[in-house]
């Protein structure tokens, strides 16, 4: 791919010039070229939500859209929302509610909740469930995720 012009992506506040096939779905570029593995490839079909990242503040599935489509956009992954010892407010709410068993779906859900609260600081139950509808969880952490949303809403300044 040495003759491919680099693709520039803005991820977690940093510009990256990447020598990747621009048709590669964004999730693989994040995971393999940037080592940001919080976003998971769960289905490749935009059916499970494990690959969600924020694009210009909106929760967006990254497993089926080519990375090139995200040039010039502001991409934030779950890693960009906080880190161990210094979790972001939504992440902290997930920790306090013990939301997550195997945890494979959790980064996508953290992103979805962050995106929701960006748009609706105090969402009603229907808005919460609509925002989480694209996300599957097999272990049954749903009640704790819903409680974490409530906790994150209350914790907002």
């Amino acid at each position: 791919m040495s003759d491919t012009p680099p693709l520039t992506l803005r991820v977690n506040g940093e510009e990256h010039a990447l020598a990747v096939d621009p048709s590669t779905p964004l999730v693989y570029v994040l995971r393999n070229a940037l080592g940001l593995t919080a976003a998971k490839a769960g289905c490749g079909l935009e059916q499970c939500g494990a690959c969600a990242v924020l694009v210009d503040g909106v929760s967006t599935l990254s497993c089926a859209t080519p990375a090139a489509a995200f040039a010039g956009r502001d991409i934030v992954t779950c890693e960009g929302l906080g880190r161990p010892g210094q979790p972001g407010p939504v992440q902290q709410a997930f920790v306090e509610e013990g939301a997550g068993q195997c945890g494979y779906c959790i980064p996508g859900l953290v992103v979805a909740v962050t995106g929701l609260l960006n748009a609706h600081p105090d969402p009603d139950d229907a808005a919460v469930r609509a925002a989480l509808a694209p996300h599957l969880c097999r272990c049954g952490s749903h009640p704790r995720v819903l409680r974490a949303v409530g906790r994150a809403v209350k914790a907002r300044p």
């Binding site: 096939d21 048709s23 590669t24 779905p25 693989y28 995971r31 393999n32 080592g35 593995t37 919080a38 976003a39 998971k40 490839a41 769960g42 289905c43 490749g44 079909l45 059916q47 499970c48 494990a50 992954t77 779950c78 890693e79 906080g82 880190r83 161990p84 010892g85 979790p87 939504v90 992440q91 902290q92 997930f94 920790v95 306090e96 013990g98 939301a99 997550g100 068993q101 195997c102 945890g103 494979y104 779906c105 959790i106 980064p107 953290v110 469930r129 989480l132 509808a133 996300h135 599957l136 969880c137 097999r138 272990c139 049954g140 952490s141 749903h142 009640p143 704790r144 995720v145 819903l146």
Partner: protein
């Protein structure tokens, strides 16, 4: 109390190690699946050794290092591994105190322990654990006679411990098998036939050749590998388009529920939860004063494990040694079976457990290990991260078997249940790749069938253990007098099946608890009262009474469209007790909405209340999904449920408010609870739907379509 794990691994050093940096390492053979066993054993060790949880590490489960505790399954981890770690840590603490008494020239009863330091009370003398034991090795057996009361962490420390893993999950820093990276690593994908019985006829290697792509073929096993993951994905699609397959006879697309009743089978009478060779009697005729006599068939379709991430494994063959990283639930049994397929000495194969996407059962994790190893063997020296696609997982994981349970019984003039009869029909639930004679281990690894020299096909034998497999929880916990319980291992069914959370327990409890409701309604009795009249164990009665009170039990007479149902079981009749009560609303389009659920549980002594609640909530929701949403669809050409549109699971739109009510027995042993909520959950939902609609759907899933069909019948 002793633990079977301790019989195999009797030394303290098998379980507990003191590290030079002041940490304590716990070695458990049970793997973390999201059930928080690593949190529970860390809590137990920290409490017994009187150290803060930050000092405790739980080692990854690696063959040759961790104690061999077989499979992480059957809700046994806390009873086996948890008790082993507790006794090992308590023995270690006593030993350290004895060493300190000598080193500090102080009687043991004048010593105090605080976070890994032993102090002589009232004197300025102290010693750290690792100073007392410089090589970190105890060299003594676990004292199984210790009867000190179990130590518990204080709540603040317990919360800090829980937060450690929760924070890794929430910040996306938890490392799953799918996330592993090694220098020089190749990304690999398999190219599967249309179904599990098809074989490869032709693959034009010249046409399939792509720059930078390795094509691996052994018999009908086909895979591709490339430096770049997306390149591997594209190569897999291209090779799939070129491969020509012989579908053989195709998949049997006949009615599986008919097959369950008609096909050849091995049948065994089950007495007190254990199969016996006695002749199988006919069901009793109804008593002369029968008020009601019923026969009903409850059916579960094939269902998937449905982990959110498709299975994966990392394999690396170098210098004749194969190293594997896997989310298998049993690295030791898998090592042996894998070595057999590959013709390697097991000592040359090393497997390490790494967390994977969860599902509580035998999904594609073990199969992906063989796939990765086959590619690694073809490309020695290169680490190979092989990932299944969503379609691979949906179409080729070993499903939960379809089951049919035929119930018969009567209620007599005194309101007593008579002539209880239970026939459970199913394929095997026990196809994890445990080694055994005749290549039975390799035969249970998916791709072995496609190799040039395949093992003979796996022919399951009826499981004989207490509450194993098909007959798990088939013997009711109720006091029903003489009962006839029969398991039928049915042959010639279309799909590969294996262990899914509860094995046969879900369908058996579903059948028992729905049938109790049907008998109650038939006899004009309150379903709660009928249960309590036949339940002597006060621990069980308490739970039913508590959920009934909290759901606002009304005697089983729902209002239009809204209904309540309840159910109870004790897992394997010897582990945790769970009662469930559910309120549902069924709308005009016949959609079932879960409104509220109450779960009351008795798991003996509670080790991690929040972890226990989490397991109960999750077990409820997984079972709710089986009950309302899930069924594998196929035709003769293959599985047609190939993605989440073709196989739907419960989503956030139908999650009820769940209340968990835990009854603690601090002086009783802890009881495994990971699967205990599933059976009661499914039955309580089915009973609530009946209460709401007057319609009894006995074949899962209870979809709008199924309810409409029941209304027309």
């Amino acid at each position: 109390m002793t633990s079977s794990s301790l019989e195999e691994h009797p030394a303290v050093d098998d379980w507990i190690r003191l590290d030079a940096d002041g940490h304590v390492t716990v070695l458990s053979g049970k793997v973390e699946l999201g059930q928080r066993i690593s949190t529970a054993v860390a809590a137990i060790a920290a409490a017994e050794l009187r150290v803060v949880p930050e000092r405790v590490r739980v080692a990854a489960v690696t063959t040759g290092e961790a104690p061999d505790e077989g499979m992480t399954s059957g809700s046994n981890s806390i009873e086996h591994s948890g008790e082993a770690v507790r006794l090992a840590a308590a023995t270690a603490r006593r030993h350290l105190l004895a060493l300190a008494a000598e080193a500090l020239a102080t009687p043991a009863d004048a010593l105090e322990l605080a976070d890994g330091i032993v102090r002589a009370r009232g004197a300025n003398r102290s010693a750290r654990y690792h100073e007392l034991l410089p090589d970190g090795r105890f060299g003594i057996p676990v004292d199984t006679g210790i009867d000190d009361p179990p130590a518990a962490l204080d709540p603040v420390q317990a919360r800090r411990l829980r937060a450690r893993r929760a924070e890794a999950l929430a910040t996306g820093t938890e490392v799953f098998v799918q996330d592993l990276v090694r220098p020089g690593m190749l990304h690999a994908r398999v190219v599967r036939p249309p179904h599990a019985h098809a074989t490869l006829v032709e693959l034009d290697r010249a046409a399939a050749a792509m720059e930078g792509v390795h094509l691996v073929r052994e018999g009908s096993f086909v895979a591709v590998a490339a430096d770049d993951e997306h390149a591997a994905l594209r190569a897999a699609a291209r090779v799939a388009a070129l491969a020509r397959w012989d579908p053989g006879d195709g998949l049997d697309a006949g009615d599986v529920f008919q097959r369950l009743r008609d096909n050849p089978r091995d049948s065994l009478l089950v007495v007190h939860g254990t199969p016996v060779d006695d002749p199988i009697p006919d069901p009793d005729p109804p008593p002369p004063d029968a008020v009601v006599t019923l026969e009903a068939v409850y059916e579960r379709p094939y269902q998937m494990h449905g982990a959110i991430g498709p299975s994966a494994a990392l394999a690396h063959l170098r210098d004749g040694h194969l190293e594997v990283w896997t989310h298998s639930q049993g690295v030791y049994p898998l090592r042996q079976s894998l070595a057999e397929v590959l013709g390697m000495a097991p000592e040359r194969v090393r497997l390490t457990h790494v967390p994977g996407p969860g599902c509580y059962g035998h999904n594609g994790a073990d199969d992906a290990v063989l796939d990765a190893a086959l590619v690694a063997r073809a490309l020695p020296g290169r680490p190979v991260l092989l990932k299944w696609s969503r379609e691979d997982e949906h179409a080729f994981e070993p499903y939960a078997p379809a089951m049919a349970v035929v119930m018969r019984g009567s209620v007599d003039g005194q309101g007593r249940i008579r002539g209880w009869s239970h026939d459970a029909f199913s394929d095997t639930h026990l196809a994890r790749p445990r080694p055994g004679p005749g290549g039975v281990g390799p035969a249970r690894l998916l791709s072995a069938r496609w190799l040039p020299d395949p093992p003979p096909p796996f022919v399951p034998q009826p499981a004989r253990g207490n509450h194993t497999g098909i007959h798990r929880n088939a013997d009711p916990y109720y006091d029903l007098g003489p009962r006839r319980v029969v398991k039928h291992l049915v042959r010639g069914l279309p799909h590969r099946t294996s262990a899914t959370r509860t094995l046969g327990g879900f369908a058996n409890v579903l059948a028992i608890e729905c049938f109790l409701d049907e008998l109650a309604h038939g006899a004009g009795l309150d379903p709660l009262r009928l249960r309590l009249e036949h339940l002597a164990d006060p621990r069980a009665r308490t739970l039913l009474e508590r959920v009934a009170q909290q759901i606002g039990w009304h005697g089983g007479k729902g209002a239009d469209g809204t209904g309540r149902g309840l159910a109870f079981a004790r897992y394997k009749n010897r582990q945790a007790y769970v009662a469930a009560a559910v309120e549902v609303r069924v709308d005009d389009a016949a959609q079932v909405h879960l409104v509220r659920a109450v779960l009351a549980a008795d798991a003996g002594r509670i080790v991690d209340a929040d972890g226990l609640a989490s397991q109960l909530e999750g077990g409820f929701l997984q079972a709710a999904s089986w009950t309302l949403c899930e069924q594998v669809i196929w035709d003769s050409g293959g599985i047609t449920s190939r993605d989440w549109d073709g196989y739907s699971i419960l989503g956030f739109d139908n999650v009820p408010e769940i209340t968990v009510d835990l009854v603690d027995h601090p002086h009783e042993p802890p009881l495994g609870a990971g699967e205990a909520a599933c059976g009661p959950a499914g039955a309580a939902i089915a009973n609530a739907v009946f209460d709401a609609t007057g319609l009894r759907v006995r074949r899962l899933p209870i979809t709008a379509q199924a309810l409409r069909a029941a209304a027309m019948a």
